[in-house]
């Protein structure tokens, strides 16, 4: 009967489709298992990212029930505890500007320094120098952030006060110290990226008459751009997320301004202050923490999506 033939055809097609999934060789079973395990690991990463996003979302929603998003995103005064002009103010713009200024300026210091250090270590430094300097630089990465904040206030601040007329707590304190702090991230990862470039590329350029510098900048660096870009991104993210240094050394200005030599707060600094402070939970003053955190989360997500797009374009294939 025709119905039966169709059923038979359907079953055969289904069998054919499923057959490609069935292991044909012994080793394929292991392969699938490995792939599943690795997938779970990656899934864990995503689950964590989502978990953080969600945990921030709940109190954020409750916060926006009490404070209007318009005031939050449009207001230029941030004073959640002390009334200014009659009421507490929840304008997040000063925090955003603070974050961008501090992260941006410290990256402007740290990325070039780290990059320059990486190039020097890889291309020009004698072996012994490299062997000593690289681990010493990595020590910078391990200094407790509390110590760096301490350092910013006791050593960097007096210097900035006398040379630039900065105030005791200033954004510039944090900028200088965070800038130095992210150098090892950039230098270590960039240097690994440069090392990974096959020497024939470099040798070829040199053989063609390039100076060492030209070979490096025109051949090796473009080849390692993916890793270098990743290091820049990680370093910038670290600068954005840094809490202790800002909390201790940058102060707490509440109005929108661009003067790094005056007090500044960043979104991360505020979150840390609120989380380790004395304010009772459940109030809008406390929930402001989550609202700011969520905003920061979304901001960095957009940044990462764009940069990921760019990085995909620069994936270099050797050979």
């Amino acid at each position: 009967m025709s119905g039966d033939t169709e059923g038979l055809q359907a079953r055969t097609r289904l069998k054919g489709a499923l057959a490609s999934l069935e292991p044909r060789y012994v080793w394929e079973v292991g392969e699938k298992a490995v792939r599943a395990v690795l997938f779970l690991a990656a899934a864990f990463a995503i689950v964590m990212a989502i978990a953080i996003g969600l945990s921030l979302l709940g109190p954020t929603v409750s916060f926006f029930g009490k404070v209007s998003p318009l005031e939050f995103f449009g207001g230029t005064i941030w004073s959640p505890d002390i009334p200014v002009g009659g009421s507490v103010q929840f304008g997040v713009l000063p925090l955003m500007v603070g974050t961008l200024l501090v992260a941006g300026a410290s990256s402007a210091i740290g990325l070039p320094l780290g990059f320059g250090a990486a190039i020097y270590l890889r291309e020009y430094a004698p072996g012994r120098v490299r062997e000593i300097v690289k681990p010493v630089l990595e020590i910078l990465a391990g200094i407790p952030t509390v110590v760096l904040g301490f350092f910013a206030l006791l050593v960097v601040s007096p210097f900035l006060q006398s040379w630039f007329g900065a105030s005791f707590f200033s954004g510039a304190n944090a900028i200088v110290v965070i800038g130095i702090m992210i150098v090892p991230i950039v230098s270590s990862l960039s240097e690994d990226a440069l090392t990974a470039v096959p020497t024939d590329l470099r040798d070829g350029a040199l053989a063609l008459g390039a100076t060492r510098f030209e070979a490096t900048t025109r051949v090796v660096v473009p080849a390692g751009l993916s890793g270098i870009g990743a290091s820049f991104l990680l370093a910038f993210s670290r600068a954005v997320g840094e809490t202790m240094v800002v909390l201790i050394a940058a102060g707490q200005h509440i109005r929108l301004h661009f003067n790094i030599f005056d007090q500044m707060t960043t979104m991360s600094g505020f979150i840390a202050k609120r989380a380790t402070g004395d304010v009772p939970s459940g109030t809008p003053v406390y929930d402001a923490l989550f609202a700011v955190g969520f905003t920061l989360f979304v901001m960095t997500l957009l940044l990462n999506l764009t940069s990921n797009r760019l990085r995909s374009h620069f994936r270099e294939e050797y050979e």
């Binding site: 505890d81 002390i82 007096p158 005791f168 004395d278 939970s281």
Partner: protein
């Protein structure tokens, strides 16, 4: 040597060290543990007590400092036994406790701190301030009737006294998340029903406030007594006049005596430790508090830079146990 060998060596060494450490100290397990959390101002007191009270293998008091508010949050979830606090517990926090089944909350006074108003030691003009003047310095109210009629917010030294310099008063103080801040507002500004100004340099760490004031001739700030007297070469403490003749006449400098007999007012700040029904029911917790109020415990309080209770107050606390 290949990578595998290096790793193997490291793992073996780590395992050996770990095993030795474990077995050498495994006897420490089984001790009764008391968890204390809360204010970073009060923790030196419970810390000093714990240090002397702990006996390895028998009783261990573990001390943390999540902040007064954070401490209460954990206390009200039953995660801690005692909560250090630089301010009294709030109604909202008591409600949280009750809703979690934590009842029988008992407040213990453990020490006093003479909150000191401090200026740079090169500040040769100011010697003392009245509470009303302090209010004027720290309020945001710019109307002439502020601070009970004393006058509007002042920004310069010469607005308080025409003989003083025509310079801005640079204010330093603890941040809004600190119990010290809450207390200062409560005793200096709240009595006049004024709000605090936002125009000061805040820091969570009193040592940094010291640093800031020490470097600024026109600065004024406030923090705990221990920090104020630790730096006589760079700071000067102002005497405070609470304008209440019943409580000691004229401006009074903070010292152990004036804080103890409460003539240094209103800035003699009480420090508390809270327990609840469940924790206080444990013998080890009661022993710990008894130790704290014993003469040895009181000596320790003095060594941390705070002022001890007088004999009557100690009796009153012991009666609560």
């Amino acid at each position: 040597m290949s990578m595998g060998v290096i790793i193997a060596v490291i793992v073996v060494i780590a395992a050996v060290v770990g095993a030795v450490a474990y077995y050498a100290f495994v006897a420490q397990g089984g001790a009764e543990i008391v968890v204390v959390d809360g204010s970073s101002t009060v923790f030196p007191v419970t810390f000093a007590w714990a240090e002397a009270f702990n006996v390895p293998g028998q009783r261990q008091v573990v001390v943390r400092f999540s902040g007064t508010g954070g401490g209460f949050e954990k206390f009200c979830r039953g995660e801690t036994d005692l909560s250090d606090a630089s301010r009294p517990i709030r109604q909202s926090e008591t409600d949280l406790c009750t809703s979690n089944g934590i009842t029988g909350i008992e407040e213990f006074l453990v020490a006093y701190d003479g909150l000191s108003v401090v200026v740079n030691h090169n500040n040769i003009w100011a010697e003392n301030l009245t509470v009303a003047q302090l209010c004027r310095i720290w309020t945001s109210n710019t109307s002439a009737g502020a601070c009970g009629g004393a006058g509007a917010h002042v920004t310069r030294w010469n607005e308080l006294d025409p003989n003083w310099p025509a310079q801005d008063i640079n204010l330093y103080g603890p941040g809004t998340d600190s119990g010290t801040f809450d207390y200062f507002v409560e005793v200096i500004l709240d009595p006049f029903d004024e709000a605090i100004t936002a125009d000061f340099l805040p820091s969570e760490d009193d040592n940094f406030l010291v640093q800031g004031i020490a470097g600024d001739q026109y600065a004024l700030g406030y923090f705990g007594y221990a920090y104020a007297i630790a730096n006589p070469a760079s700071l000067k403490i102002l005497a405070i006049d609470d304008e209440d003749p019943a409580n000691g006449d004229g401006p009074i400098l903070p010292s152990e005596e004036t804080v103890k007999d409460r003539t240094y007012a209103p800035l003699s700040r009480p420090l508390y430790v809270y327990g609840n029904g469940r924790s206080l029911g444990r013998q080890v917790v009661e022993d710990f508090l008894r130790f704290g109020f014993s003469s040895q415990g009181q000596v320790l309080v003095g060594q941390t830079g705070y002022v001890t209770l007088n004999a009557n107050e100690v009796q009153a606390q012991l009666a609560k146990l």
